[in-house]
């Protein structure tokens, strides 16, 4: 070996060593060492020795925390319970019949959703995933069920799907009804299919509640793969026939809901209140009362504090409406009523309301309990 070759080898070794030392961190899970903090059940001590972070600001110390000590699970949990208590306290100022609503709470804003996920199948060298997406979860026995089906694979992979049936199946009796399938649309390895069934004309005898939209797919003629999405089909036992004139009572905006019922019982109305102009979420309303058979009025209430905190004077829109006949005892199943998609409510003068927090003795007890853990 020549001198030049030796120098080159030495340089190469040095470079490799440097690369090894300074190579960026791997993404593999890092096992953090026991770190930083003396506990002694005092937040002040923790803040002295650790870095204190707010959502937007990080105050860093120049040197790492030393000596290294650990935060116990108990202490961390206590700390978290304090935070939860703070959030709970903030929420508790809003009435349970008029919750503060944000755009993120899509489970409340869009109730009655299907929550299906795609399921993947390995077929030869391709992966085929199937997603069944009914337009909602609970259907009235007089309406049409629409279902979107998405099959994804490679363009070659889609050719493996040689047969597809879509049908409605009752969970108990296993009786089934075929859905009408519209022509499929293939686009870059994705096949979209729309299927539907009109219950009022096609489902002549039905007494169950639990059903499923079922897909039977054959890949290259093999035995079929079965995938389903649960739905419910219900008979309506009440109807919202309109709203009355709003009024202000005890610092709440009262919205009279006119309801026709087939049976007496406890009925619960819930809906999201939006500002009509800005389409901003304001409040989630829940009201429940015992109604007679026939014509009734159930009052929904919007807490004045919510309106003032949100700063919207309307006009408003009620949407995402659910009318539920509650179970009063075992054996009495929940039943549902119908409503329009939305109702418009006239605006208010925010000056007519005061910012008075809701008082709930039980919420106080819960807070006391959570704070006791956080101490």
């Amino acid at each position: 070996m020549t001198l030049n070759k030796r120098k080159a080898l030495l340089m190469l070794s040095s470079v490799m060593l440097l690369v090894l030392v300074f190579w960026p961190a791997p993404e593999a899970p890092l096992k953090p060492q026991v770190i930083a903090i003396e506990v002694n059940n005092k937040a002040e001590v923790i803040q002295d020795k650790a870095k204190v972070v707010t959502k937007t600001t990080i105050t860093k110390q120049k040197s790492p925390p030393n000596p290294a000590k650990e935060v116990s699970v108990e202490r961390g949990m206590q700390h978290e319970m304090q935070r939860v208590a703070d959030i709970y306290e903030h929420r508790s100022q809003y009435a349970p019949y008029s919750l503060l609503l944000s755009a993120e709470q899509t489970d409340l804003i869009n109730p009655n959703q299907s929550h299906e996920s795609p399921r993947a199948y390995e077929v030869l060298n391709d992966t085929i995933s199937i997603l069944i997406k009914p337009s909602k979860y609970r259907f009235s026995d007089t309406e049409s069920i629409d279902v979107d089906i998405l099959i994804q694979s490679s363009e070659e992979g889609l050719k493996n799907v040689t047969e597809l049936e879509v049908y409605l199946r009752s969970s108990q009796s296993q009786q089934s009804w075929p859905l009408k399938i519209q022509p499929a649309i293939d686009q870059q390895g994705a096949r979209s299919i729309r299927a539907s069934i009109d219950l009022s004309s096609e489902l002549t005898s039905f007494s169950e509640k639990d059903y499923a939209i079922v897909i039977s797919a054959r890949f290259n003629g093999d035995s079929p793969v079965i995938q389903s999405a649960p739905i419910q089909i219900v008979t309506q036992v009440a109807r919202i026939i309109g709203l009355g004139s709003t009024r202000i009572e005890d610092n709440d905006l009262i919205i009279p809901i006119h309801i026709e019922t087939d049976q007496a019982g406890y009925y619960q109305f819930s809906a999201s209140l939006f500002d009509l102009a800005s389409n901003s979420a304001i409040s989630y309303l829940i009201s429940k009362d015992r109604l007679n058979s026939g014509s009734n009025t159930l009052n929904a209430r919007v807490q004045g504090l919510v309106l003032r905190d949100r700063g919207f004077s309307g006009p408003f829109r009620l949407q995402g409406i659910t009318l539920l006949k509650k179970s009063e005892y075992p054996g009495m199943l929940e039943q549902y009523g119908s409503a329009a998609d939305s109702y418009v409510i006239e605006g208010v003068n925010l000056e007519d309301f005061e910012s008075i927090p809701y008082q709930d003795p039980m919420a106080e007890k819960r807070l006391e309990f959570m704070r006791s853990i956080g101490q």
Partner: protein
């Protein structure tokens, strides 16, 4: 606390309600235990009250049994809105008659017990009002590996149940674990129908004032055979979207968008939002579905760090900032110019199991 004679109580009322020991309660409050799915009983058929009582005892035996003052022992053969609702109704009436929640009571649930309890909370005020009884003062529910948002394994079980050919081996293996280790499915899937993701997420959806304090894991009990069928990170039976209390079933890898499962403070694949009054408290990447309530499981969770979830007003639809504690960690191999990672986590406490830590903290 008075010790009830369980046998006579069952004989008298058919209610699975028991006060277990004189030293029960948590911080002076009565504790109600609600267990999870017991798939093995699906092969045995409808359970008697005595069988349910024995099953309930065995379920909680590793730790919580003597911490519970009352139990709801329900049958996996039944649907939530069916016979299980009757058992829940009877429990609510018994708690009311015994004035058991006068000083506030605490529910402790595991897995599907989360869903059953949500149904109970959703209906108990109407049940009591219709019966002319006062409301119960429930302080909180501690939900361990809660399945209130359903489990994709239940979806799979229902579909395989309808298909004798069992087309694919991995699915069979996953459902086999879920169904109690057998290679066939029982005739009746009972509560598994309710545990389908879409179905579970449409049961008892009305928000209420009872805080649900959630403890979750990302560990493994089943040699990873189930993980491919659960969305995002899971604990072998329940995906995080369900156990964290997320508003939808999108696969997530943390209960927070700002903290990963191992405590690393970073942009995490967290929930789009949390169900009203659901608060994840602790998450541990090594905590398995069984390990959160017992010593069962291939991993003992407490060997690993647990991250606290850093609940925020933002994730609950409000907007207020809070301080929190984080720690820098920069291993030597990060090099000169790499910045340190930030972690927020808490350490395990010796040989304590996770349930033990939770109880000790709440009971102090």
């Amino acid at each position: 606390m008075k010790k009830f004679n369980l046998a006579s109580l069952v004989a008298a009322s058919g209610v699975m309600l028991a006060a277990t020991t004189a030293s029960a309660q948590m911080a002076g409050h009565n504790v109600v235990l609600v267990h999870g799915l017991q798939s093995a009983v699906l092969f045995e058929g409808q359970q008697t009250d005595e069988q349910l009582s024995r099953g309930g005892e065995a379920y909680w035996d590793d730790y919580w049994l003597d911490k519970g003052d009352y139990r709801l022992d329900w049958d996996t053969n039944d649907r939530v809105e069916g016979k299980t609702a009757e058992r829940a109704y009877d429990l609510v009436m018994q708690l009311s008659d015994a004035n058991a929640c006068a000083n506030g009571c605490i529910f402790v649930t595991h897995s599907t017990g989360d869903l059953i309890t949500r149904y109970l909370f959703d209906n108990m005020d109407t049940w009591l009002e219709a019966a002319g009884k006062p409301a119960l003062n429930v302080l909180a529910s501690i939900d361990l590996a809660g399945a209130g948002g359903g489990s994709e394994l239940a979806d799979l079980a229902v579909d395989l149940h309808q298909n004798d050919s069992w087309y694919y081996a991995p699915m069979k293996a996953a459902v086999s674990y879920f169904a109690g280790g057998t290679s066939t499915l029982p005739e009746n899937l009972g509560t598994m129908y309710d545990l389908q993701v879409t179905t579970a997420r449409n049961i008892a959806t009305t928000p209420n004032s009872i805080p649900r304090l959630r403890f979750v894991g990302g560990g493994d009990d089943a040699y990873k055979v189930t993980k491919a069928f659960l969305s995002g990170t899971d604990d072998s039976v329940v995906a995080l979207h369900s156990s964290c209390g997320a508003i939808n079933a999108r696969g997530i890898d943390s209960c927070s968008t700002r903290v990963e499962m191992n405590g690393l403070v970073d942009a995490a694949n967290g929930p789009d939002g949390l169900v009203y009054n659901n608060y994840p408290i602790l998450q541990g990447q090594g905590i398995s579905h069984g390990g959160i309530v017992s010593f069962f499981g291939t991993s003992n969770a407490i060997d690993d760090e647990l991250a606290y979830v850093r609940n925020s007003f933002a994730s609950n639809g409000l907007s207020v900032n809070f301080d929190t504690y984080v720690y820098d960690y920069k291993p030597w191999w990060y090099g000169y110019w790499s910045s340190a990672d930030q972690y927020q986590y808490v350490r395990g406490s010796g040989d304590k199991m996770i349930s033990e830590i939770i109880y000790d903290t709440f009971n102090h």
